[in-house]
Amino acid sequence: MLKLRKWKSILLLLSLTLILTACNGGEEEGEGQASTGNGSTISISGSTSVGPLAEKLAAKYMENADVNIEINQIGSSAGITNAISGVSEIGMSSRNLESGEEEEVTPTIIAFDGIVVVTHANNKVKDLTMDEVKKIFTGEITNWKDVGGKDMEIVVVSREDGSGSRDAFQEIVDYSSGELVRSSIIASGNGNIKTTVATNEHAIGFISFEYIDDTISTININGVEPTAKNVIEEKYPLSRPFLFVHKDLSEESQAFIDFILSEAGQEIAAEAGAIPIIEE
């Protein structure tokens, strides 16, 4: 008797849950239709360098528009792959497209980024030439005293092979992955490099402009300060484009990109530490 009652109550509970979830599902659907009407979700994935900027742009855009924007920071190559395969509508990339990718997707430059060479906050070296940077990262110069600093060993910190920042940096400074000094510390992500450099007096690394703060000291290249103004005026050499890559765009995505390229969008980009494509 007791068991029967138990089973009955379980059945009742089950059916109740079912009914409730069914109702819920219905509601959600209704809501979805009401809110979307003109579309639903824009999925974006890719570079961890472009990611923070895209997040800020999306947050601002969603205040006024009736769309939901999902952003996954998974790295440039993965983002481009997703855009090609259709997993994400838009891929974010902080490197130029490779030959195989160019035929598959269209790139749109949404802003520029500067890469800055950073050292420990106590490091007295504030100025390096491009050649010195190259010699440090390829292991020709191994002591800070050779570039005007204290007599101590240089510890090179680099991003991992395949990272957009690393590709861009190596391309501009002009050395290959094979030439990178072997004993260099490899850190994944801008934040990781910053932490490593900030906690090691010997270290030198490179990060995106957006990540600059007081914990590290920035280096002038050929005497030019790493500022947005110098990037736009093409004085500062370590810069690269931020790309959105995509196939055919839905109306909502096109509107989002239009917003980014508008004056308001570029203002947000500037606030986020990126370098806007329109000169003010």
Binding site: S76, E160, D161, G162, S176, S177, G178, I185, I186, A187
Partner: protein
């Protein structure tokens, strides 16, 4: 005396019981199949992806294993430095972790007064529950700067930092498994030894530990498995340099961190080579499991 209506109801509830029994059984079966299925899916996927460059693109597997250059952007894939790093890090962790873990297990099961064991035992188990990334953060925030400031290293991200973190991480595994094994040794062994005039410590090392040998070996192998497969904690303290380590202060890149570090940006052959790295790692784990099975079957006899 049961009245007819009650009998009827019992029958009905019986039928319901059988149906529920049947459904439950199938439910258990499905659950069991899910784990087996996942295993085959994962193995199949990793091997399919990882063997592709060697079968389809003509890369040499020997060069892959013994090559010392890992430069994906120049099409060079050699994981020898990582294999060496993984082995060194694991052995180093064993050298530190096994004595500490074993002595802790002996202390907990044989020597410690109950109130003290009651504090230490849960503490060790809690250590096992800490997410591995927190070990990494701890290593990065405490061990790495400590090595830099006190040992005068130019960089704290090094083999020794990896070894220290892994040694701490494998402690709970070794302690819990070894403790169980030692507790399982029959009391008569100890009593016999003590009755013959052996000291308590002599009894522990000459009688109890040898009797629990297979269980202790299992504990060590399990700890080894934990050390070799650990990724998140290691990636933060290893430095991930691509050199064959020649000293404890070199920064290293074990197999696991190579995969985790580069997967996000990899595509094409590079990505497949990371899967191939996974195959090598998987082989290590497989060998360990095989050894473990051998040990436990020996212990059963």
């Amino acid at each position: 005396m049961p009245n007819p209506s009650e009998v009827k109801q019992t029958n009905k509830s019986n039928r319901l019981k059988y149906i529920m029994e049947f459904i439950s059984e199938k439910l258990f079966l499905i659950c069991a199949l899910i784990s087996v299925l996942s295993l085959f899916l994962i193995i199949g996927f990793v091997f399919f992806k990882g063997s592709n460059p060697f079968i389809a693109d003509g890369y040499s597997f020997i060069d892959f294993i013994f090559g010392s250059d890992w430069i994906p952007s120049e099409d060079k894939y050699g994981i020898f430095p990582m294999i060496v790093a993984s082995i060194y890090a694991t052995i180093g962790a064993l050298v530190i972790g096994v004595p500490i873990g074993l002595l802790t297990a002996i202390f907990l099961s044989e020597i410690a007064p109950k109130p003290i064991a009651k504090i230490i035992s849960p503490a060790v188990q809690l250590l096992a529950g800490i997410p591995s990334v927190l070990y990494g953060v701890f290593g990065l925030a405490i061990i790495v700067p400590f090595l830099q400031n006190n040992l005068g290293l130019v960089k704290g991200q090094s083999l020794i930092a990896v070894i220290l973190v892994l040694a701490i991480m494998m402690l709970p595994t070794i302690v819990t498994v070894a403790e169980t094994a030692i507790r399982a040794v029959p009391k008569t062994y100890r009593e016999g030894s003590l009755a013959l005039g052996a000291s308590p410590i002599g009894t522990i090392f000459k009688v109890v530990v040898p009797a629990a040998k297979s269980g202790i070996m299992a504990a060590i192998v399990l700890g080894l498995g934990r050390a070799i497969g650990e990724t998140m904690a290691v990636i933060l303290v290893a430095g991930n340099s691509l050199i064959i380590p020649t000293s404890l202060t070199d920064s290293v890149r074990p197999l696991t961190t190579n995969i985790a570090l580069e997967m996000g940006y990899a595509y094409g052959t590079h990505q497949e080579m990371l899967f191939a790295t996974g195959i090598v790692l998987f082989s290590f784990i497989l060998i360990l499991n095989f050894v473990l099975a051998k040990i436990s079957s020996k212990g059963g006899k």
